[in-house]
């Protein structure tokens, strides 16, 4: 069968089209017909189907995401807000920082290595597109139960893919998280974050301005990888003589991306582009419609000119291909030769495939025939928007009411000791170095802090002492119990983690991982989560700068735990003042900051010891979080503390173990007399941290806490010669035994 041109579409208005197979609802298809005043060509149908997909159009989430703008706190920290490829934060002295997190969940289940690898590649290109040099990555990972058989397939592949791609790009991986829960068994979460640095005058935007300017496709050639729905169109119009078994997951080429990064940065430095967009989801469809829609409004493209890896590809496939490592630039004609010369220097294929017009139409030709003629805004920005029904599920009350207050708790010293060892060796609290040792954390030479520190920290550049700190956090069990609070708890923890290192938290990115939006219970979780996050960001004064939504993370009727993953970016003027996590100074006094309550809803203790989920998650108090952050930041700047570690899952016990093991230093602890020792050790109350204070600074430090009315309780002392963590009157554990329990779990699981 032949090409489906605009002329064909006019002449055969009633030809049946496979819109349903492409995931389009009948009313969406009708709307396309209405916009065009005729049936779409198969190429146009390809464009609309991918641009109006949930993934690209945010059609189910848009009405909720608007709150991030409506409730945005007043701030002068943002240079570019939501809507571009990534938000940009003012870092002072003419520096700007851009960061974003994005999911690559479904591909990582199908093909863990390539799925995760291309997740890193995609987010790095988003950051590059803003004009920044990518300087670090992080990732937030969720897998099925640690001992589920499929976890042994998915996790090593995902970790290998992240390492394989990021290490080859030469980007340090400075932190992140790894969680296990059975709900993620068929839906692992791979959320990749990238941060980039630039000068404020170097910001690039994704728009095609200026009629007559050239549209250049550069980077890798377009291949058949990542084509999902296009096969429906292809099989409808072509016979079976093509290479049919193509991977549905894209295949990454990190070396091509590395070369593309250096090539782009040289092009940016020479000021040779007026607009730029990376090709990610929806490939050429997305890049052409979005660039045209944001600029003068029109674009003519000769699709034949796109360099192909596979010459048998048809227009529909070229438009939908998600081949990696591609970019599209808009270049003034007089700058084209310089642009192409830089591409040639880096051996990057670059091809002029069209030009900007003022027609208000995106037109594409194939062998001289017009196959696409549409108003680009209708594909890029005016897709369907749904107010999906939402309903608080009936079982939510039962979940909260069954609060686990009667679960048996350890009492004696021996029982507390055994509980501590059981927890620190459990899947979600044990040492992550089996994973993180597969990532390069040193490359580029600017890494100040990396995993297992509370936040990753990198210096902006060797010429400055300014730095950024980043943390990503999320807790699906808290969010299951209370989605509004769950989002706020994740935000509070990421905020606290950044402040713990001495950096001032400034901006937020988020990746919202949920089940099907067509399930009213899931949609209720989603709406509560976005409301909680928007309210939290307003109260903390940290605006959302961008993010990503991943729906349909479910197997059959069973959705994953609702999992908002929140990334917080902070700035620090002088990275030499950063506060590390581990105890290091002999005789330093250990203080517990904040208040400890009897809070075990959604806790690791309830999960690990009793396999129980119920009750309410810990209370969030943003005023306390701000106060704690102020104290931690000031104490860092004034040299009052030499270590700090936030308290989160696993409570005080976990924090003490990690602070001791970081440098192999012992400590003697006296628990506050008025607290039940079990509550003191394992409660997950928020707004808390432990710090170690050199004796010479104790008075200044406690004066600062009391002046600001932050509860600070002296609970012990760092003992460099001690080879144990002693909880006086209750138990002690040799560091050797702690280390063995903490470090063996992942290694034994994946090496065994």
């Amino acid at each position: 069968m032949s090409l489906d041109t605009v002329q064909d579409a006019i002449e055969t208005p009633d030809q049946p089209q496979p819109f349903a197979e492409l995931g389009m609802a009948p009313e969406e298809y009708d709307r396309v017909r209405e916009i065009l005043g005729r049936r779409p060509t198969s190429s146009e149908l390809a464009i609309y189907s991918v641009m109006w997909s949930e993934h690209c159009s945010y059609k189910s989430s848009k009405v909720h995401l608007r709150q991030f703008g409506e409730k945005a706190p007043p701030t002068d920290a943002l240079l570019v807000g939501m809507g571009e490829n990534a938000g940009v934060v003012d870092a002072g002295d003419g520096w700007a920082v851009t960061f974003k997190i994005e999911s690559h969940n479904h591909p990582s289940y199908v093909e863990p290595y390539q799925g995760a690898a291309t997740g890193v590649g995609g987010i790095v290109r988003d950051i590059l597109t803003m004009g920044a040099r990518p300087v670090a990555v992080m990732d937030s990972l969720r897998f099925g139960a640690l001992h589920a058989p499929d976890t042994a397939r998915v996790l090593p592949g995902v970790v290998g893919g992240i390492g394989g791609y990021g290490n080859c790009l030469g980007l340090p991986n400075v932190g992140g998280e790894v969680y296990f829960d059975e709900s993620y068994l068929g839906n692992p979460l791979v959320n990749a974050l990238c941060v980039g640095v630039m000068r404020t005058d170097g910001i690039k935007l994704a728009k095609a301005d200026g009629p007559g300017n050239k549209v250049v496709l550069f980077g890798a050639r377009t291949g058949g990888d990542g084509i999902g729905g296009a096969s429906v169109l292809a099989s409808a119009t072509f016979d079976d003589e093509k290479p049919s078994k193509r991977p549905s997951v894209q295949v990454g080429d990190p070396f091509a991306e590395k070369v593309l990064i250096e090539c782009c940065l040289e092009i940016f430095a020479a000021d040779l582009v007026t607009g730029i967009q990376d090709l990610g989801a929806a490939g050429l469809s997305c890049a052409t419609t979005e660039l045209a829609a944001a600029g003068t409004g029109g674009m003519d493209v000769d699709l034949d000119l796109a360099p192909l890896r596979d010459p048998t590809l048809v227009p529909e496939e070229i438009l939908m291909s998600e081949s990696q490592e591609r970019m599209m630039a808009v270049v003034e004609p007089e700058k084209l030769d310089d642009f192409l010369a830089i591409c040639a220097k880096w051996d990057v294929t670059a091809t002029v495939i069209g030009e900007v017009t003022s027609t208000g139409r995106l037109r594409m030709r194939w062998h001289g025939e017009v196959i696409v003629d549409l108003p680009p805004r209708t594909a890029a920005h005016e897709g369907p928007v749904y107010e999906r029904p939402l309903e608080r599920p009936a079982e939510q009350d039962a979940l909260i009411d069954n609060d686990g207050a009667d679960l048996p708790r350890p009492k004696s010293g021996d029982e507390l000791r055994a509980t501590l060892l059981q927890l620190i060796s459990s899947a979600n609290l044990c040492d992550r170095s089996w994973v993180t040792d597969q990532y390069d954390r040193f490359v580029l030479g600017n890494t100040v802090l990396a995993q297992p520190e509370d936040a990753g920290m990198v210096r902006l550049d060797e010429s400055t002492s300014r730095g950024i700190a980043l943390s990503v956090d999320g807790n699906g069990r808290y969010t299951r119990l209370d989605p509004y609070a769950g989002a706020q708890l994740a935000l509070a923890e990421a905020y606290r983690n950044v402040a713990t290192t001495g950096a001032r938290p400034l901006a937020v990115t988020n990746c919202l991982n949920f089940g099907s939006p067509e399930d009213p219970a899931v949609m209720w979780q989603f709406s509560e989560t976005t409301r909680g996050l928007a309210d939290g960001c307003f109260t903390l004064g940290t605006p959302v700068t961008g993010g990503n939504v991943s729906f349909y993370n479910q197997t059959g009727e069973t959705a994953i735990l609702p999992t908002p993953v929140i990334g917080v970016l902070g700035l620090i003027d002088d990275v030499t003042r950063r506060t590390p996590q581990g105890f290091s100074t002999d005789g330093a006094l250990i203080y517990l900051l904040g208040e400890t309550r009897n809070e075990f809803g959604g806790s690791e203790w309830a999960h690990v010891v009793h396999g129980f989920l119920g009750g309410r998650p810990p209370v969030v108090d943003f005023a306390r979080e701000r106060l704690l952050a102020d104290v931690l930041i000031n104490a860092s700047r004034d040299g009052l503390i030499d270590s700090a570690h936030d308290l989160a899952e696993g409570g005080l016990a976990q924090a003490l173990v990690e602070a001791c093991l970081r440098r192999g230093v012992g400590a003697r602890i006296v628990l506050p007399a008025w607290l039940d020792p079990f509550v003191a050790l394992f409660s997950e109350s928020t707004g808390r941290a432990i710090v170690s204070v050199p004796r010479s600074e104790e008075v200044r430090f406690t004066d600062m806490c009391s002046a600001r009315k932050l509860p600070a309780e002296r609970i012990g002392v760092v003992d460099l010669l001690a080879t144990e963590l002693e909880i006086q009157k209750h138990f002690s554990v040799p560091l050797r035994e702690l280390r063995a329990a903490w470090t063996a779990t992942l290694r034994d699981r994946f090496e065994g």
Partner: protein, 201 residues
């Protein structure tokens, strides 16, 4: 190099001109993605012809990680580097013992000195035939050995070797990540560069 007081000059792979430099460092990385054997393509870069010729004339050349692999592929150093025995990339702080100080790259260290610098590689297993290994040992050409456990399956715990003359050194760990305390594992790696620029120990 800058931290140790020298001026650094970037050499371009397709440009055979060495621009009059006093020494060459082939850094780590993933040349051509390492999809083929590590360093096997980079060894044919035009600049390598000049570097190989200059190395034969005594120009100091240090290959770190991927650079070490390129030097082996270029036959400036014996042996080869293969995938880690545990099949995974490894990034860690590595203890080393310096075993040869007869090279401008190691003259800043004392024989037997122990240092800690980052190690990060996927294909860092040093291999050579028994005869070559015996010869390297006999001639004192093993520059550094891994301590406290072999991280990648290298024969005889070899972390780095040199040529007979001593001007060419290949090293799998990364001394350039241990030149300032803030961003690395300390300053133990600085010696590799200070020796070259003539700062005495």
């Amino acid at each position: 190099m800058r931290v140790s007081g020298a001026e650094s000059v970037a050499l371009w792979h397709a440009d055979p001109d060495l621009h009059g430099v006093d020494a060459v460092i082939l850094p780590g990385g993933f040349s051509y993605g390492d999809y083929l054997r590590c360093g096997a393509i980079a060894r044919f870069a035009r600049v390598m012809d000049s570097i190989i010729a200059a190395a034969h004339d005594g120009l100091p050349v240090l290959g770190i990680c991927n650079g070490f692999q390129i030097l082996c592929e270029s036959h400036l150093l014996p042996g080869a580097l293969i995938r880690n025995d545990h099949r995974k990339f490894v990034c860690k702080e590595q203890r080393l013992r310096i075993e040869s100080v007869d090279s401008p790259w190691t003259s800043h260290y004392e024989l037997g000195q122990e240092i800690t610098i980052p190690l990060k590689n996927g294909e860092g297993g040093y291999v050579a035939d028994e005869k070559t290994l015996d010869q390297l040992e006999a001639e004192g050409r093993i520059v550094a050995r891994y301590l406290n456990g072999n991280p990648n399956g290298s024969y005889r715990d070899i972390a780095g070797v040199r040529n007979e003359r001593g001007n060419v050194v290949g090293l799998m760990p990364h001394p350039e990540h241990a030149v300032e305390a803030l961003t690395g594992t300390g300053t133990d790696g600085l010696g590799f560069f200070l020796g070259l620029v003539g700062v005495s120990a």
